[in-house]
Every structure is written in structure tokens, then in C-alpha cells.
């Protein structure tokens, strides 16, 4: 976890609208909510009965001595105990139900939302940030909605009950005890806030320490060759000292707070005793009543503490609530238009023929948010089955072009037509399920190699999987693994090398038999030997299929039907390999400069068979 995850947690005014929206998640469980309120009422009532029965038995013994029959008291106490314990069971299980189910539901909604939100949303939010929303923020909100709300209801009921009962019994004594409560509440809130803030500092320091360990372990070679051990240790000691300071401050705050609250509430107890005792003498008050008042004074203590803690937490959690709701309520930039959605709802399709052949970019322009224009007046017409290669410097707009084509983003100006129809008038799902895409950073899901290749076509047979792997040049290395296609790839595919991951992700795209294939530097980390092997497969995959290839491998580029040299969001040159070389322009420079360094790598040449020793 990184520190920025909760860096904007400062308390702000409690915005009740947000909480009302969140409360709907609780109210969804109507039966539990009702039970919950009843249980809270029952709990407050039984809590209230204990001082009463205690006071009664003391008063009775005091007055009647040996003639008192203790059996009814015994039964009453036993009955109350059973009642309060049942209420406690109900209280915890109801709160547990709401806590687990509400956080589950918020997470579910947020996840669904994340599957629809466009990449422009993802661009502004790192994965860690999103993770924190769905994990710690959800837990935190659900905690408030379950325990917080519960403690609030119970606390209010109990405190009201105590106040009423005390006032009925003895209003003078009651007022004396109640006088302490506001002070107690104020002190509690003051401390709770500081404790929460201090513990946030501790969490931040803790994540910095974890990051430092991580860095020191991953960078151990660098530290050694630069003889940085001492300096690193000094840097780390600063963090460790900071952590120590924050932790102690946190502990000391608690060490002041609890005794202080205890002492304050002892004032109420002492008052009950002294003034109550005085009244015994003056007005013949029962000693039992004095005991009862002391008991009540003590009973006040817990709900005040709990409620002030939740009150502070509510203020701190305001930011969490805003962030989670902003996620759940966000509207995706790229989605089916209302018309398309209606057509799908009515007829089950977007109303256009299921054909993807001719692609046309017409005056397309694009910028990310309010950033500079990445693409300008881009025009391109692709005939069915053509392979288009995009070359040019990084940041020139190649990947943007591909993102627009896949409708991960939509053009800010101009239109993209598929067989003459603006693709915004088609269903997003239709387009994206017709795509096969292989990215430079291949992402694999944990599971077996076979499962990963099947990702786009879960019902594919083993034969189909192997055929796709062969075409992608992945079969040989897979067959060499102990468990072949059943080999676990590990988290993020870490058990495989980058080149192997690229091959698997290539096979994944091939298996899907997409109508439009997009490859974004998809073979950059594959050694020349393997690349040579997949050339043939690649040719078969590309033939007769419209494809866009971003590549720096000349062998791939050379075979393309149309090569676009893109720079600063414009096509600066276009044509076939031969045509472009003849122009003696940008492509010619790139080609002559690149060829030498790219083709001649010693790995293929010395030893010849590419055998390597790990």
C-alpha cells in the first residue's frame, strides 16, 4: 500500500446526503435492519435493568434483612442475563451481516462499474488507488454503516433510558450525574480525532518502511556495487525513527485519553456517592438507590466513548465516502449511445449487419482530456484484409491510433467508419468481441497457460488451443514445460519470461480468430530465433484478416500492405516498403539505421543452436 492511498483523509464537514445514499445499501437488507433496531432496543433495555435490579436487591436487603426471599431476584437476574446475551448475539450477528453484505455490495457495484468505465478514467487513477477504494474504503464504510450506526442507535436509546430513569428516581442526583456527560463527550471527540490522525501518520510511516524494505531487497546489487549499505541504512533509520516517534505519540495519546475519561466518569460516581449518601441522611433515600446511581453513572461511560469514536470516524471517513460514491456513480465516457442501447434491448442486436471489413478514419482528431492534441486530421481508408504497419517515434500517436480503433477512446473530432457506419452507432460489445489484440506488455491472468490461451474463447478444444499456440510459435516452449498447457503461470504470469508471455498472449489472440487483429509491439521481447519461427504463422494469421501492426521488427513491417510513418499525430509518409525506401525520407533513415542493430545479435550467431546456460 502506498501512502497516497489515504492522503486526503482530512476530516471535513459530514455531508449527510452522501451517507443517506450509502444507507440505502443497509436498507436493502430490510429484515436485518428491523431486527437490528429491535435488538438495539432490547439491548439498551436490558442494560438499563441491571442497575435497577441491583439497586432493588440492595434496598430490599437493607430494609427487610433476613425476611427477603432471594429466589425471585436470582431468577430475575438469570432471566436478564439470558435476555442480554441473546441481544448481544443478535447485535453482533446483525452488525456482522450488514458489515459483510454491505461491503460486498458496494464492492460488487464498484467492480461492475469499473468494467464499464472508459480508459480515460483509468488514465487518471493508478491501480493502487482503485484497489484501495474497493478494499479498505469499502470495509471502512461498511464498518460505519454496521457498527457505527448500531452503536449510535444503541447509545442514544441507552443514554435516553438512563436519563429518564434517573430523572424519575431522583432529579437532583440525575442532574449532577448528567452534568459530566457533555464534558466527557467533548473530551472524547477531541482525543478520538487526534488519535485517528496519529494512527494515520503511523500507517503512512509503516507503508514507507515496507517500501524501503522492498527497495533495498530489489536494489541489493546496486547497493552493493555502489557501496551504499551505510547510506541506505542511515536513510532507513530515519524512517524507522519517524515510525517510532509516531507510534509512541499514538500510544501516548491513548494513554492520556482513557485514564482521563475514566477519571471524569469517576467524578460522576463520586458525586452519586457523596450527594446520594447525604440525601440518605436528609431525606431517607435508600442505600440501594445510591448504589443504583453509581451503577448508572458508570453505565454512561461506554456509549459516550463509542459514540464519540464513531463521530470522529465519520468525519474522517467523509473522503472515503466521496471517493467510493464517485466511483459507483461515475458515467463511462465510452458506452453504447441511448439509441444503440434501445435497439439492443428491443431486438438483441445493434441493427447493423454483422460485418467488419472496411475501416475508414475521416478527419480524426484526438486529445486526452484537455491535453495537447495527439492526433490531427487523420485520414485513412483500409481495405478488407489489409495489413497496416505503423512506424515512428514513441509518443508520435501510434498507440493512440490503435486505442481509437478499438474504441477504448473515441475521437474528439471526426469519425471512424466501419463499413460506412460510424462506429459510435454500433454496439461496443460487438466491436470489442470482434477484436484480437496483442499488447507489448502482455498481461496474463493467474491460472494455467491453457486457461490463458482460452481467455477469449473459453469453450475451445485442446486441439484448437494447440493449433493457436503453434501458429503463435508458443507450442514448442509450452510442450517443454513439465505440465505443458497445465503449467501455472503465476501471478501476472511471473513464472514465464517476457518473451514467453508475449507468445502466449499472441496465441490467445489467434485462438479467438478475430476479424480485426491489432498488435502493439507484440513481439519486441522475442529472440530472433523464435521470431523467425513465428514469421510463418504470423503470415498465415495476418493473411485475409484486417490487421494493424505496430512494430519495430523490419521483417514484420516489410510484409505489410501499407506502412504509415507517423509523427506528431500525422501521417508523414505512407506506402509500401519499396515505395517508402524510394522516397529516401524518414522511413529510409529508420530502416538503414535500424537494420544493423536489430538483426545482428550475437545470440543467434555464436553457438548457432541458441542453447543457453541458466
Amino acid at each position: 500500500m502506498n501512502e497516497w492511498i489515504d492522503d486526503d483523509d482530512d476530516e471535513s464537514k459530514v455531508d449527510l446526503r452522501l451517507w443517506r445514499k450509502l444507507l440505502r445499501y443497509t436498507l436493502h437488507y430490510r429484515q436485518t435492519t428491523i431486527t437490528f433496531c429491535l435488538v438495539a432496543l432490547g439491548l439498551a433495555a436490558t442494560d438499563l435493568c441491571f442497575p435497577l435490579i441491583t439497586g432493588q436487591v440492595v434496598a430490599d436487603i437493607e430494609e427487610h434483612g433476613t425476611s427477603v426471599n432471594l429466589a425471585p431476584y436470582g431468577w430475575a437476574f438469570a432471566g436478564l442475563s439470558v435476555a442480554i446475551c441473546s441481544c448481544i448475539w443478535g447485535f453482533i450477528s446483525c452488525a456482522g451481516k450488514i458489515r459483510t453484505h454491505v461491503s460486498h455490495d458496494i464492492r460488487r457495484d464498484a467492480f461492475r462499474q469499473l468494467q464499464q468505465l472508459s480508459f480515460s478514467f483509468y488514465d487518471r487513477r493508478p491501480v493502487g488507488w482503485l484497489m484501495a477504494r474497493l478494499t479498505s474504503d469499502c470495509q471502512r464504510l461498511a464498518n460505519i454503516l454496521a457498527w457505527g450506526v448500531m452503536d449510535l442507535i444503541w447509545g442514544v436509546l441507552l443514554m435516553t433510558g438512563i436519563t429518564v430513569v434517573m430523572l424519575i428516581y431522583n432529579w437532583r442526583l440525575a442532574l449532577a450525574v448528567l452534568g459530566i456527560v457533555p464534558i466527557l463527550f467533548f473530551v472524547s471527540v477531541w482525543f478520538r480525532k487526534r488519535i485517528l490522525r496519529a494512527s494515520r501518520l503511523v500507517r503512512g510511516a509503516n507503508s514507507r518502511i515496507t517500501a524501503a524494505y522492498n527497495e533495498s531487497i530489489s536494489g541489493v546489487r546496486t547497493a552493493k556495487v555502489f557501496v551504499r549499505e551505510q547510506e541506505n541504512l542511515q536513510d532507513f533509520d530515519r524512517l524507522a525513527n519517524e515510525m517510532e516517534r509516531y507510534s509512541i505519540r499514538n500510544a501516548v495519546l491513548s494513554a492520556v485519553y482513557l485514564p482521563l475519561v475514566l477519571t471524569l466518569s469517576s467524578v460522576a460516581i463520586a458525586l452519586s456517592l457523596a450527594w446520594g449518601g447525604y440525601q440518605v441522611q436528609l431525606y431517607g433515600l435508600a442505600v440501594g438507590e445510591v448504589v443504583m446511581f453509581m451503577y448508572f453513572a458508570q453505565l454512561f461511560f461506554q456509549p459516550v466513548q463509542d459514540m464519540s469514536a464513531w463521530f470522529a470516524e465519520l468525519q474522517m471517513a467523509q473522503a472515503s465516502a466521496e471517493r467510493v460514491l464517485s466511483l459507483v456513480e461515475a458515467v463511462p465516457d465510452v458506452r453504447d449511445t441511448p439509441q444503440v442501447a434501445r435497439r439492443i434491448a428491443e431486438t438483441g442486436s445493434d441493427g447493423h449487419p454483422d460485418r467488419l471489413e472496411r475501416i475508414e478514419f475521416r478527419d480524426v482528431g484526438f486529445r486526452y482530456g484537455t491535453g495537447p492534441r495527439i492526433l490531427e486530421d487523420f485520414n485513412l481508408s483500409v481495405a478488407p484484409g489489409q495489413t497496416i504497419a505503423l512506424v515512428g517515434a514513441t509518443g508520435g500517436g501510434k498507440s493512440t491510433l490503435v486505442n481509437l480503433l478499438c474504441r477504448f477512446y473515441e475521437p474528439t473530432e471526426g469519425r471512424i467508419l466501419i463499413d460506412g457506419i460510424d462506429y459510435r452507432d454500433r454496439s461496443l460489445h460487438w466491436l470489442q468481441s470482434s477484436l484480437g489484440i496483442v499488447l507489448q506488455q502482455p498481461h496474463l491472468f493467474s491460472g494455467t497457460i491453457g486457461e490463458n490461451i482460452r481467455y477469449g474463447k473459453p469453450d475451445a478444444s485442446q486441439d484448437e488451443v494447440e493449433e493457436a499456440a503453434r501458429l503463435a510459435g508458443a507450442h514448442d516452449f509450452i510442450a517443454d514445460l513439465d505440465d505443458a498447457y497445465d503449467t501455472e503461470v503465476g501471478e501476472d504470469g511471473n513464472q514465464l519470461s517476457l518473451g514467453q508471455k508475449q507468445l502466449v498472449s499472441f496465441a490467445r489472440a489467434v485462438l479467438k480468430r478475430p476479424r480485426l487483429l491489432v498488435m502493439d509491439e507484440a513481439t519486441s521481447s522475442i529472440d530472433t530465433e523464435t521470431e523467425r519461427q513465428i514469421q510463418q504463422g504470423l503470415a498465415r494469421v495476418l493473411s485475409g484478416r484486417t490487421s494493424f501492426v505496430i512494430a519495430h521488427r523490419l521483417s514484420t513491417i516489410r510484409a505489410a500492405d501499407l506502412i504509415l510513418v507517423i509523427d506528431h499525430g500525422r501521417i508523414v509518409e505512407q506506402g509500401t516498403h519499396q515505395q517508402l525506401l524510394a522516397q529516401r525520407g524518414r522511413y529510409y533513415d529508420l530502416y538503414t539505421e535500424q537494420s544493423m542493430r536489430d538483426i545482428v545479435r550475437t545470440d543467434d550467431l555464436i553457438g548457432g543452436n541458441g542453447e543457453s546456460v541458466a
Binding site: 460488487r108 467492480f111 469499473l114 556495487v225 485514564p259 542493430r597 541458466a614
Partner: protein, 601 residues
């Protein structure tokens, strides 16, 4: 207690625990002493109540003279208890946090000194886990659990004598159910521990699924698998919810049953006490003393079993931390009097990582001072291994020899050797610090113009000044993300800034384009003779700079000589050169053809 806890390892864990408290024991003892005093003050309150209530019940004359001091005494006792609790909290926090700071320091220092051979096989995630979660478990043990155990023990130690002093039978009645409460909690949390673990695992699975989905969101969209992903995450989400709910029900059962026992205990004292009052065995005040005393100590006692059960985890954590600290660090030889310099002589060097096949086999070569050499060969040939051995990242066997300036490498202090080298590793590691700090890694007193000069030599200066904060831009997640080529050039800059005796570039330009590479080579050529330079390369272009070339394959030296020598000889280098030539021809051909067709069009 399960059998493993009394085994010798448990004994040594206790010893480790004892050792790490060194330096803080006085604080701990002081914390316990003030805690004891505080406890006495708190438990005096029921006695004050007793005396006062008795006085009230007897309707003594001059009651006022009793009531006001009693009220003040109650507040005073609480205040003093509060003061001592505060001191206890402060000292125990200082002690435990101090111990943990020291432990963190030792772990960090030790990890830095562990040999590469250890780090190669260790799992980073697991190590970090031990340094964070296990240390945290220990911290909770030292700062909360030990304190809580001491607190409850002191409660009992003080309360029981007070009770016995008051009345034997009432004492027996008051403590009757205590063993049951503690045992029940202990057994319950032992049993429920596996459920806690299951919940943690389910949460981890859910988080992993979420993370995979978010990092792979492009793939999900490209394959239109949103529904599949939603179902998958939904399954994990459901599983976590259900398990956690089960845990809550379990906890509800626990609290309910333990509360039943607690209330039964309170009921016993209330009703039993009433009976004793009726019998005239105790006064009303004594009855209330027992009642109040019990209600003060019973809640912490109820929690005691859980604390004991949780404290068991600390033992596991100590074991896991000890495992790291027990690994022997790199040996430390005395620092030499003269700086490390001179010719490098490698003789009969054989080396293998762990039990794998040898990475180097009987390799012998000499690199003269000031010379620039290139090591050429396919990946896995042993080139990186050789330079790793030169800076003593690994130790070679006794049959092999490496000498620098005539001195056996093994006898020279590692840091002294490494200080003489400027290494650019294959996959350079940058710290999440500023660009400047990263460049100054090996020369922390360098002036700004020196930093810039070396950045210019590495052809990275122009990139750096374009960053938002120039040299003060943060590298990594919170700042700029550098491309592979930029990272490599930054790493070259920091090696050059060190102005080392030996400069090693381990395939350091693989992600750099040809023009930049040429510029860097020019800069290096200007420094020729200033360092002994070792270039590791896959590409022929890198060998342009070298005085001599060593061709290495399968851990063996197969060719050495100047470029001209090697071209003349019949060997891999000449073959490579020939293929290069053919490719050049092919390109020329392509170009020629195109110009032909171009002139036609």
C-alpha cells in the same frame, strides 16, 4: 499448550525475545511497577465504597465528614490510577517501539549484507512480509499483549488478597467461574484461528483477482470478457463475504457464551452476597465491595484468553525473523592500505550458481590497466557472471584465482573492491529518489557541474532538463517513469560520475537507439585510458570501441584479440562479421532496388 511450544526451538525463541529486549528492560520493569501501583489505586475504590456505604447504612453521626473525603478519594484514586496508567502506557510504548526500531534496523542492515547468492533464491515478497507483518505481530505482542497479560495478572494479584482479607467464602464465590472464562476464550480462539486464516486467504484471493482485473483491463476489454470477469470477481467477493460472515457468527457465539459466564459470575456475587448479608457474615458495604471489585476486573479477564491465544502467534513470527538473521552475511576482510588498481588477471576460473551447471569453466584472461575490452557472447555465456565475480558479488572456489594489481581478490575487502568499480548493470535499478540523488549514488559529494557533465557524457542531460523539475524530479511512481533507454543512460551517468578505476558496462545500451549509442561511445572514447573499461555486448557495434575482444561461450573463452586479429582468424567472430556484411549487402540491395523502382515511377 501444543507439544511444539515446549520444544527446543520455542526455548530459543524465548531466548531471542529476551535478547532483543536488551536496553529496554529497565523501562519495562518500570512500566510494570507503575502499573502495579496504578492497579492498587484502582482497586482501592471498591474499599472506599465499602467503608462509605457502611457508614451511610449505619446512619452514623458526622456522615458529612466521611462523604466528602470519600468522594475526593474516589476521584483521587482514579486520577492517580490514570497518572500511573499514563506512565505505564508511555514507558511500555517507548520500550516496545524502541525494541522494534532496533529490530527493524538489524533486519535492514542484515539484508543489505546478505550475499547475492541468498537474494537470488529468496522470494522478495516473502522477505518483505517477514520484515513487515511478522515484525508487526511481534510489535503487537510487545506493546499490547505482554502489557495486557501483565495487567490482568496484576489485577488478580492485587484483587485476590483484598478479597481474602475481606471474606474467604465470598472470595471463593467471586472467583468460581474465572478458570472457565479464561479456558473457554483460550480454546475458542485456538479453534477459530483457522477460520481467521481462511478469511484472510479469501480476502487475499479477492484482492488478487481485483488487481489482475485492473492491471489487465485492456485485455479484458479487448477480449470483451467483462461478464466473465464480473462473474469471477463476484465469486471471490461472495466467498469472502460468506466466510467473513461465518466468522462474525462464530464471534457472536463466543461473546454470547462468555458473557453468559460473566453474568453468571456477577449474579453469583450479587445474590450470594445478599445471602451472606442476610446471614450476618458480611456487611452491606463488603457485599458492594465484592460486587464492584468483580465488575472492575472481570471484563479484562474475559479478554485474557484471547490475548493468550493471540500471543502464540508471536512465537511463529520470531521464528520467521530469526531465520533471516541466522543467514551468515558476506565476509568482511580488512581494508587494504593502497587503493584497488592494476591489471586484472583471471586464472582457471570455474564457477557455478548453487548446484547448477558451471556458468564459467576454466576461464583465464588478463585485462591490462587502462585498457578497453569487450566481452562478446550469447546470453548465458557467462559474461555477467565474470564481472559479478570481479566485484565480489559472489565467491568463487579455491581452485580459481582472480588477482587485481597482483593481489588475490578474496583477500581484499569487498567494499574497497566495489569502490574501485563503476558498474552499469543489465537491468539498472533506480531508487525512488530524485534524478540527482540517483546519479550521485556513488559520489555523494559531487558538485552540480560534475553531475551534469557525467549526464552529458551519458547523453541523458537533455532529457533530464526537460523533466518538470529537472534534476530534482522524482524517479518512479511519484514522479517520472523513465523508459528503458533512459534508465540505462542514467545508470551510465552515475557510474561515470564515480570516475572509477574500472568501468563495467553490462549490456547497458540494449534499449538505446543507434544514434544515442554512437554519441555515448564517442564520450567514452574521449575518456579512454582514464578507466580500465569492460564492455559486455550482444551487438557487434559495441566492439568498435574495444582495444581487445574476448569471445565467450558456454562459460569458456573461445577467442581473444583485436578486431583485426579476429577478423583474420577463422572463428565465430569472423563468421559474425561476415553475416553482418551480408546483411549490409541485403540492405544495400533493397535500397538500390527501391531507387531503381523509384526512378521508374
Amino acid at each position: 499448550m501444543n507439544p511444539t511450544e515446549s520444544s527446543p526451538t520455542s526455548e530459543s525463541h524465548r531466548r531471542t525475545l529476551w535478547e532483543i529486549t536488551r536496553g529496554q528492560r529497565v523501562r519495562y520493569v518500570a512500566a510494570i511497577v507503575v502499573m502495579a501501583v496504578g492497579t492498587i489505586f484502582l482497586l482501592l475504590v471498591p474499599y472506599i465504597l465499602k467503608v462509605t456505604l457502611d457508614a451511610i447504612a449505619e446512619q452514623r453521626a458526622g456522615l458529612r465528614d466521611v462523604l466528602i473525603p470519600a468522594a475526593l478519594a474516589i476521584v483521587g484514586c482514579h486520577a492517580l490510577h490514570g497518572l500511573f496508567t499514563y506512565l505505564r502506557g508511555r514507558w511500555s510504548a517507548q520500550a516496545s517501539e524502541g525494541i522494534i526500531r532496533q529490530l527493524r534496523h538489524e533486519l535492514f542492515a542484515h539484508l543489505e549484507r546478505l550475499p547475492c547468492s541468498y537474494h537470488d533464491t529468496a522470494d522478495t515478497g516473502d522477505l518483505v512480509q517477514r520484515c513487515s507483518s511478522d515484525v508487526e505481530t511481534l510489535r503487537v505482542f510487545l506493546s499490547a499483549q505482554i502489557v495486557e497479560i501483565a495487567r490482568v495478572s496484576l489485577f488478580l494479584l492485587v484483587a485476590i488478597p483484598i478479597m481474602l482479607w475481606q471474606n474467604l467464602w465470598m472470595s471463593a464465590l467471586s472467583l468460581a467461574l474465572f478458570p472457565l472464562i479464561i479456558t473457554f476464550a483460550l480454546l475458542f480462539f485456538r479453534k477459530v484461528r483457522s477460520l481467521f486464516e481462511k478469511v484472510d486467504e479469501a480476502e487475499a484471493r479477492m484482492t488478487t483477482t481485483l488487481q489482475e482485473n485492473l492491471t489487465g483491463i485492456r485485455v479484458v476489454r479487448a477480449f470483451a470478457q467483462q461478464d466473465h470477469e464480473t462473474r469471477k470477481f463476484g465469486g471471490r467477493n461472495d466467498e469472502f463475504r460468506d466466510l467473513e460472515y461465518r466468522l462474525f457468527i462464530s464471534l457472536a457465539n463466543y461473546w454470547t457464551f462468555s458473557d453468559i459466564i460473566v453474568f453468571a459470575q456477577i449474579g453469583l456475587v450479587l445474590i450470594g452476597g445478599a445471602y451472606y448479608v442476610q446471614q450476618g457474615a458480611i456487611s452491606l458495604g463488603t457485599w458492594m465491595l465484592f460486587f464492584w471489585l468483580l465488575r472492575t476486573i472481570i471484563w479484562p479477564v474475559r479478554h485474557f484468553g484471547r490475548v493468550l491465544a493471540d500471543a502464540g502467534k508471536a512465537s511463529v513470527s520470531i521464528g520467521r525473523i530469526r531465520e533471516i538473521l541466522a543467514v551468515p552475511p558476506e565476509s568482511e576482510e580488512p581494508r587494504p592500505e593502497q587503493p584497488v588498481a592494476g591489471d586484472i588477471e583471471v586464472r582457471n576460473l570455474t564457477f557455478s550458481y548453487g548446484r547448477n551447471q558451471p556458468a564459467l569453466r576454466d576461464l583465464s584472461l588478463t585485462i591490462r590497466e587502462g585498457e578497453t575490452v569487450a566481452l562478446l557472447g550469447p546470453p548465458g555465456a557467462g559474461k555477467s557472471t565474470l564481472v559479478n565475480l570481479l566485484v565480489r558479488l559472489y565467491d568463487y572456489g579455491d581452485d580459481s584465482t582472480i588477482r587485481i594489481g597482483g593481489r588475490e581478490l578474496k583477500t581484499i575487502n569487498r567494499s574497497a573492491v566495489r569502490e574501485a568499480f563503476g558498474m552499469v548493470l543489465q537491468d539498472p535499478f533506480l531508487y525512488s529518489k530524485t534524478v540527482r540523488e540517483n546519479v550521485m549514488l556513488g559520489h555523494s559529494s559531487a558538485a552540480d557541474h560534475e553531475v551534469e557533465e557525467s549526464a552529458r557524457s551519458a547523453d541523458i542531460h537533455d532529457n533530464i532538463v526537460e523533466f518538470e523539475h529537472g534534476y530534482d524530479t522524482m524517479v518512479g511512481e511519484r514522479g517520472v517513469t523513465l523508459s528503458g533507454g533512459q534508465r540505462q543512460r542514467l545508470a551510465i551517468a552515475r557510474a561515470l560520475l564515480k570516475d572509477p578505476q574500472f568501468l563495467v558496462l553490462d549490456d547497458s545500451l540494449s534499449a538505446v537507439d543507434t544514434k544515442t549509442e554512437a554519441r555515448i561511445f564517442e564520450a567514452l572514447a574521449r575518456r579512454r585510458g582514464r578507466h580500465t573499461t569492460i564492455l559486455i555486448a550482444h551487438r557487434l557495434s559495441s566492439t568498435r570501441l574495444a582495444d581487445r575482444i574476448f569471445v565467450i561461450d558456454h562459460g569458456r573463452l573461445i577467442q581473444e584479440g583485436t578486431h583485426d586479429d579476429l577478423i583474420a582468424a577463422d572463428g565465430p567472430y569472423a563468421r559474425l562479421w561476415a553475416i553482418q556484411g551480408r546483411l549490409d549487402e541485403e540492405i544495400q540491395h533493397d535500397v538500390a532496388q527501391s531507387s531503381g523502382s523509384g526512378s521508374l515511377s
